[in-house]
């Protein structure tokens, strides 16, 4: 003991729950470098390539016919697929969170299924179900309602790929909130629908918005599944990501990267809103459940 007594604090005190400063800064540097190379550099590259001939040239490419129709198609698809998925998410979360029924665990697994299926396989599934060669698809085509190589197929493919997003955000939040609020409303004489509208929905609105945001970002950016079902008909069934591919393969670099920049901008706005929601309403969106 005596050797210790003479040397007062031999080394600067470090709390038992931290690493040595050099390790800490090395890990931070590694993280920054990794994200710089993997995330920031590609993002920057998109905007640099898009603006290589100036902003005006870039914006002009968006005004061309193919580009305009791709933007319009993507907006249309999202406008159909996202609300449908939101409706599904609300129904599924209500059903799973508020009732105790047989087969619930199995149902949750089924809802998560699209996460482990390749988008290309998802597209193939839809082609095999609704394509002109299948029984349903053949009948629909004969009656003038083609699904594959047309808007409905693109919507279905997009829905498949983004299917679990809203439900996954809502289920844990609704489970946590239990059903006491709804039961209270019912005892006060509210109808079921009124209870849902005035009690349940306000309770989960931020989680719903959060899920819709993520769902929308994925819906607008989906490539693999849509590529399989769309047939890539220029000006008709080419969504923005597919149009990017066409421009890129035709060496129309500015056009490709400008449209990519538009989607990247959308992604950045999504992330910004997502971060704001997490900061502001952390307790109302399942913040501990941030895996997608």
């Amino acid at each position: 003991m005596s050797d210790v007594s003479l040397s007062a604090p031999a080394r600067p005190f470090r709390a038992a729950t931290t690493e040595a400063p050099w390790i800490k800064w090395a890990l931070i540097a590694l993280s920054v470098a990794f994200l710089a190379l993997m995330v920031f550099a590609p993002l920057l590259a998109v905007f640099i390539e898009a603006l290589q001939d100036g902003l005006w040239v870039a914006l002009e490419t968006l005004g061309e016919r193919d580009a305009r129709s791709a933007i319009w198609l993507t907006l249309t698809v999202a406008a159909i697929a996202v609300p449908l998925n939101a409706a599904f998410g609300l129904a599924a979360a209500w059903c799973i969170a508020k009732y105790d029924f047989r087969g619930k665990a199995f149902l949750i697994t089924l809802i998560d299924l699209p996460f482990s299926v390749s988008p290309v396989v998802a597209g193939l599934c839809i082609v095999l179900t609704f394509g002109a060669n299948s029984a349903i698809g053949g009948w629909l085509v004969d009656n003038g309602y083609p699904i594959v190589f047309a808007l409905p197929g693109i919507v279905l493919a997009t829905m498949f790929v983004t299917f679990p997003f809203v439900a996954r955000e809502l289920i844990p939040v609704m489970i946590e909130q239990g059903r006491a609020d709804e039961e209270a409303a019912l005892t006060l004489g509210a109808t079921g629908w009124r209870t849902f509208r005035t009690v349940t929905l306000p309770n989960v609105k931020w989680a719903l918005l959060y899920g819709v945001l993520l769902c929308n970002a994925r819906a607008m950016g989906e490539f693999g599944a849509v590529a399989v079902v769309s047939g890539k008909i220029r000006g008709q069934t080419a969504t923005m990501p597919l149009q990017i591919e066409m421009f890129y393969q035709e060496y129309l670099s500015v056009a490709a990267f400008t449209m990519a920049g538009l989607l990247a901008f959308l992604a950045l706005v999504t992330l910004l809103l997502k971060t704001l929601l997490e900061l502001r309403f952390a307790d109302q969106i399942a913040a501990t459940h941030r895996q997608h």
């Binding site: 993997m38 995330v39 993002l43 193939l124 590529a227 971060t275």
Partner: protein, 283 residues
């Protein structure tokens, strides 16, 4: 209908109305969008017959594509496992300027369309791109090789481990780390013996998700892969090629092979997880 569903499915009768309606909407949409299409694939496979499916899959080109997809996905998911744990640790434990921006950036691969990521990475790593030039000086080709595929899969799988591990690190009580120190363990030993085992189940979940995502990834890879048959052709691309030739049997065969292998992997990893969770009693 509602009464029938309630009687047959509900374990406990409920005062809340709307079970039949919500259950109906859920099951209808789930069937229409997900279940029927997947069933159609399996039915189609069954109608083609196992012998024919096997004949189609059992070619060098298909095996090489599957092997390439799973192999590179595994490498990418492993790197993401290590980097994901480090990132999760740095983002939850350290306070430094720019932390929030880094935290938000982790989600970019979720939000950025894969085609955008694909052309961006290709531009950077092509032989005359900003980073490609650097590697070219060392005589390394990144884009249009396996390295390119690896990079794209690394990108798409990046958020998974971070986002599954972060909440677990946040929940580790400081007392546990202090207890380890008072018992004489060095910081390194505490990290290895106490903290790592606690975050391992979550890290494995993230790893499995990243792996599943990478195996099925198409959009970002096809731009950077070069897509040479037998060399840099991934399995999803081969499905698309067969489809474009209207060879539905071959496309379905490869798809079923991919589904089977992915589910087997997920099953194994889920098994490990359930086992380790039961042991340490996490919920």
């Amino acid at each position: 209908m509602d009464a029938f569903l309630q009687r047959t499915l509900l374990r406990q009768p409920s005062a809340l109305p709307g079970f039949g309606l919500s259950f109906g909407i859920m099951v209808t949409l789930l069937s229409l969008v997900v279940l029927i299409p997947i069933a159609a694939l399996l039915l189609f496979g069954a109608s083609v017959g196992p012998a024919e499916l096997w004949r189609v899959v059992n070619t060098e080109r298909v095996w090489l594509a599957l092997w390439l997809s799973f192999r590179i996905s595994l490498y990418a998911a492993l790197v993401n496992l290590v980097m994901g744990v480090i990132l999760a640790w740095v983002l939850t434990r350290y306070r430094f300027p720019g932390r929030r921006i880094l935290d938000a950036a982790v989600d970019l691969p979720f939000a950025l369309p894969t085609a955008v990521a694909g052309i961006a990475l290709t531009t950077l790593y092509a032989p005359r791109g900003a980073f490609g030039e650097f590697f070219a000086a060392w005589d390394i080709k990144v884009a249009y090789t396996e390295w390119g595929i690896f990079l794209a899969l690394l990108f798409v799988g990046l958020p998974f481990v971070v986002r599954t591990v972060q909440p677990v690190i946040e929940e580790i009580e400081q007392e546990v780390e202090e207890a380890s120190a008072t018992l004489g363990a060095s910081r390194a030993r505490t990290l290895r013996k106490v903290i790592l085992p606690m975050i391992l189940p979550a890290a494995l979940t993230g790893f499995a998700l990243a792996l599943a995502r990478a195996v099925g990834e198409y959009g970002s890879v096809i731009f950077i892969a070069g897509n040479l048959p037998l060399r840099t052709e991934i399995a999803p691309l081969l499905i698309v090629i067969r489809l474009e030739e209207f060879n539905y049997a071959a496309a379905a065969a490869i798809a079923i092979a991919m589904l089977t292998i992915s589910f087997a992997m997920l099953l194994v990893i889920n098994g490990i997880q359930i086992w380790s969770r039961r042991r340490i009693g996490l919920v």
